[in-house]
């Protein structure tokens, strides 16, 4: 868990886990990914943001599951057994990302990452670090630090 | 056979430092926490050399050295005093008690090893 490849360093070959939400492809640095699991039911959290599905039990650890589609503004996911949870470790915390399907593990060169288009919405700008073009598919690189659930400033 | 050293000090930091320094130098190290403990462990440890602190609870270094010397089989066992004290009076007391040498803390590992090598065959 301690080793976290940081994507920030330039000119480096890294492995990414690519996955899909709806029609779009996304990816995470494999250094953050602990494991991939099928959908399991979660416990609803009170007063949680809409993108927090709930808490799951991962071998005794309690961790939040994020509906990545909702987080990215792509609509709410109604979870069912075909869905996948990517367990990631980011900023000392473990979290599950609910996605449609995991596609592949690919080696890329960090230099090949292109910036997101200028027309970006604030959400795109905040959560997408850039894009890789892989066999004519645009794969969006998630900014793992930004995507983590933020504590509301006012608790009430 | 590896040279065995019994180090007696009430400070666990000091014990650890001595142990680290001497183990790295290839010695076999046993540890004791004060004079009584040192005398207790003497038989089982059967060291080739003893290193002891002076200020210790229950039985201080002087008392322990006397206790060691009182044992016939340890009559000529080298005993090094390792202490922060450097007073001539105390040195003389240690000498009278039967100490072999006197080293002032903080010690330098290399020198300590060199001195030990000079005292054990």
């Amino acid at each position: 868990m301690s080793e976290q490849a940081t994507i920030e360093t330039t000119d480096e070959r890294i492995e990414i886990v690519s996955f899909t939400i709806g029609e779009q492809a996304f990816c995470l640095d494999i250094g953050h990914v602990l494991e991939i699991r099928g959908w399991t039911s979660t416990t609803t959290l009170p007063h949680a943001p809409d993108y927090v599905v709930g808490m799951m039990n991962l071998r005794g650890a309690v961790l939040p599951v994020i509906d990545l589609s909702m987080r990215l503004g792509l609509g709410k996911t109604i979870p069912e057994s075909r869905h996948v949870i990517i367990i990631a470790h980011i900023d000392e915390k473990s979290v599950g990302f609910l996605v449609d399907a995991v596609s592949n593990i690919i080696t890329v060169n960090t230099e090949e990452m292109k910036p997101t288009p200028e027309v970006s919405s604030s959400r795109t700008a905040a959560f997408i670090r850039g894009v890789y073009t892989l066999e004519e598919t645009i794969v969006r690189a998630i900014d793992v630090h930004q995507i983590m659930p933020q504590e509301a400033l006012s608790a009430a | 056979m590896t040279t065995k050293i019994l180090a007696v000090d009430d400070s666990r930091t000091m014990r650890a430092m001595i142990q680290t320094a001497l183990t790295d130098a290839g010695f076999d190290v046993d540890l004791a926490e004060d004079g009584i403990d040192g005398l207790d462990k003497l038989g089982g440890s059967n060291p080739d050399l003893v290193i002891t602190d002076i200020n210790m609870p229950r039985l201080d270094g002087f008392g322990m050295i006397e206790g060691v010397r009182a044992r016939p089989e340890c009559a000529s066992l080298p005993i090094l005093v390792l202490t922060t004290e450097s007073g001539e009076e105390l040195k003389q007391r240690a000498r009278t008690a039967g100490a072999t040498g006197w080293i002032v803390k903080p010690f330098d590992a290399e020198k300590l090893v060199a001195i030990i090598n000079r005292l054990v065959v």
Partner: protein, 731 residues
């Protein structure tokens, strides 16, 4: 080296504790010679370790402190209140220096300077007023900083390796024409008795230049008699020294055998080197090792046991010698936590197994159910035992507080003393660590606001010196820590006025004395007219309360005008397990901590009364409690029209206030393993933590205090917090 450094600072904590205990004994007149010895050794060990890490300032201060303790133990000075006070200050500064060194910080030069000079002055006066102390201390500290070896042994041994036997000196004749030394040496029997070995002395000498050795064995009759008459041999060594070697360097080699041998050193001028035919080395060596070493065939066999002994560390090095010594080991806290977690998992797995067994269609096989029953018992005992590892006495924590009392009293210009009761009470280590800040703040508050000024105390017929009492005890499965002062008590009129000014309560609110006292825990409340240096640091008692709550604890304040104030903190024994009531709300399973639970009941509609905005109250024994619809409060669903099918849980909070939680159903009471939410998420309003149920599902643990409305309390767990406050006028 950093491990050793960590170990040193850990040891410093223990040593400071010994010192602090000693100071307390000294102050209370319970000291004896061993008390002062133990204190001396503590400071001495800190100095020794500090020397190893080059912590100059710590060395200097510990040295001055140690000198005073040395004067005390040699009765050069007597214990009096001034000395005790000085040593308390010394202790405080020593702790600061240790802390600063630990954090690699440097304290401002001015800090502790007066204590240091006072300590030096004491030693100076004790030793006949000779101002030698100033110099002596400087010199000594330099000694510690510099690598210092006794000159008698401090030789440059060059590349002498361990395997190098005392290969005595080259037998080649010393070259003619150079100046050289002739050393005549004959050992007294006592020399051997002190562990010296002439051969090794010669080897050291041999490293100073070219050397030849001649042994005169004329006095030796037989080899067997060597041991009895070792002095019968005398040696003549001829050394042609390397550069920089002079007579004094040579003498240094023999310093420690001085008085145990006959030694003659002559410097011979350039010509006529008396080259002597060397006697075979074997013979020279022969007397050197009398048969002093028994064979040690058992050494290897004992090794494992010895290893384990080496691990055993006595953290009680400073205790009185009469006390039995408990053998202890030091273990990384992470390992313990891992073990605790694993055992927690084991308990959960055991529960899951039991549940699946119950669901089996076949009638319970008695052998299996018996085994499972045993497993349940064992895992319970195992869990308890593992939890006990984390427990440690609150003594260290309390001792830190005694310093806070001293400091705040000094700053507030009041005299006060701290009385500690039940320091041996054991509490989870994390709890003691996290209690430091809240307790510090509470004590500052007590000294600052609780204790009256000296003249007021005298006028009230109280002793001028105020008493602060810190007490710990185990009570019905919880740890209770109370802090009381014999001050003026809470000025309720003033508190109430202040609360009204700040809009926390309304003038027409009917508040009990206890209600008013506990207003002090409200966010932003401060009674001090002027913000004092002590407690007015922008932190109020509300922060203290939230810290205690974060530990799963409750805090309560009781005050009696003119007599004093007592703040009671009640904490769970361990942070990892608690007793809870499993309930269901809106399809979710939740746990309500049993500590807050007073009663469960099925209401008749007649007992439920409607108020404005959908608020409802429950009439119980002539009083009206607010009903909190848990499903609504947690945002799981909207408010239920009809509560008659609901179960009600009567809960009571820290302040003694109650409310009735409406839930869909009560399942069972059970012990749950607490899983923090902050580790992977963050805190959630209305929820204290989570747990994992037998079926592997997560259940959230309700934060009951946040489910009890109170005047002006913006309980974040309550969706309708502000409106529910209205209900209080009926309580």
């Amino acid at each position: 080296m950093s491990d050793l450094r960590d170990m040193f600072f850990e040891e410093c904590d223990d040593l400071l504790e010994v010192l602090s205990t000693g100071l307390d004994d000294l102050q209370n007149g319970n000291s004896d010679a061993e008390t002062i010895n133990a204190m001396f050794r503590s400071v001495h060990s800190i100095k020794g370790g500090a020397g190893a890490f080059g912590l100059d300032r710590l060395i200097k201060f510990a040295h001055a402190f140690e000198n005073v303790l040395d004067d005390l133990r040699s009765n050069k000075i007597d214990v009096d209140p001034n000395i005790t006070a000085l040593m308390f200050s010394g202790f405080d500064h020593l702790s600061d220096l240790v802390d600063a060194a630990r954090e690699d910080n440097d304290l401002p030069d001015s800090e502790g300077a007066s204590v240091l000079s006072d300590l030096k002055l004491v030693t100076q006066n004790a030793n006949g007023g000779v101002a030698e102390e100033e110099d002596a201390s400087e010199v000594s500290s330099d000694d510690f900083v510099a690598l210092t070896l006794d000159v008698g042994l401090d030789l440059d041994l060059g590349g002498d390796g361990p395997g190098d036997l005392p290969g005595l000196p080259s037998l080649e004749p010393v070259s003619e024409g150079a100046s050289h030394f002739i050393v005549k040496f004959a050992a007294d029997p006592v020399l051997y008795a002190r562990g010296h070995d002439p051969a090794l002395l010669f080897r050291a000498l041999g490293e100073m230049g070219e050397m030849t050795v001649e042994a005169d064995i004329s006095g030796v009759a037989t080899l067997e008699s060597l041991q009895e008459a070792p002095a019968a041999i005398s040696w003549t060594l001829t050394l042609r020294p390397d550069d920089g070697i002079d007579e004094s360097t040579i003498r240094e080699i023999f310093e420690f055998v001085e008085g145990q041998c006959t030694l003659e050193i002559m410097e011979v001028a350039a010509e006529a080197a008396p080259v002597v035919e060397a006697t075979p080395v074997v013979e020279a060596e022969a007397p050197v090792k009398p048969a002093a070493k028994p064979a040690k065939p058992s050494a290897k066999a004992e090794a494992p046991e010895k290893d384990s002994k080496q691990e055993a560390k006595g953290g009680d090095g400073g205790k009185k010698s009469s006390e039995p010594r408990n053998s202890t080991i030091r273990v990384d806290l992470n390992r313990v936590d891992r073990l605790i977690n694993l055992v927690g998992e084991l308990v959960i797995s055991e529960a899951m197994l039991r549940q699946s067994m119950n669901e089996l269609p076949v009638s319970a096989n008695s052998a299996v159910s018996e085994a499972i029953g045993q497993l349940k018992t064992l895992s319970g005992v195992l869990q308890e035992s593992v939890m006990a590892i984390r427990a440690q006495p609150v003594r260290g924590l309390f001792q830190r507080m005694s310093r806070i009392v001293r400091e705040s009293s000094r700053q507030a210009g009041k005299t006060s003393r701290l009385v500690m009761v039940g320091e041996a009470t054991e509490v989870d280590k994390t709890v003691t660590e996290r209690l430091v800040e809240p307790l510090t703040h509470m004590i500052r508050n007590s000294v600052d606001h609780g204790l009256e000024k000296a003249e007021d105390r005298i006028a009230a017929g109280k002793p001028e010196m105020g008493t602060i009492k810190l007490e710990a005890a185990h009570r019905s499965g919880r740890v209770v820590i109370s802090l009381s002062d014999d001050g003026a008590g809470v000025n309720r009129e003033k508190v109430r006025r202040k609360a009204e000014e700040k809009g926390l309560v309304r003038p027409e609110d009917d508040l009990t004395d206890s209600d008013i006292d506990n207003l002090l825990f409200r966010p932003g409340f401060s009674t001090a007219d002027e913000i004092s240096q002590l407690s007015g640091r922008g932190v109020g008692m509300d922060v203290v309360r939230s810290e205690i709550q974060a530990l799963g604890g409750r805090i309560n304040l009781q005050s009696e005008p003119g007599k004093g104030t007592t703040i009671t903190i009640s904490l769970p024994l361990t942070l990892a397990v608690m007793e809870g009531m499993l309930i269901e709300v809106a399809g979710e399973s939740l746990v309500v901590p049993t500590v807050a639970l007073r009663e469960t009941l099925q209401p008749g509609q007649a007992n439920i009364h409607d108020f404005c905005d959908g608020d409802r109250g429950l009439s119980v024994n002539d009083s009206m409690l607010p009903i909190v619809d848990l499903g609504e409060a947690l945002g799981f669903r909207s408010s239920l029209e009809d509560l008659s099918n609901q179960s009600l849980l009567l809960i009571e909070g820290e302040s003694g206030r109650r409310s009735a939680l409406a839930v869909d159903g009560i399942v069972e009471q059970r012990e749950v393993v607490i899983k923090g939410l902050e580790q992977n998420y963050h805190s959630i309003p209305g929820i204290a933590a989570a747990t994992i149920l037998g079926n592997g599902k997560i259940a959230l643990i309700v934060d009951t205090d946040q489910m009890i409305p109170s005047p002006g309390n913006g309980n974040p767990g309550l969706r309708k917090g502000s409106e529910l406050v209205e209900v209080n006028s009926y309580v």
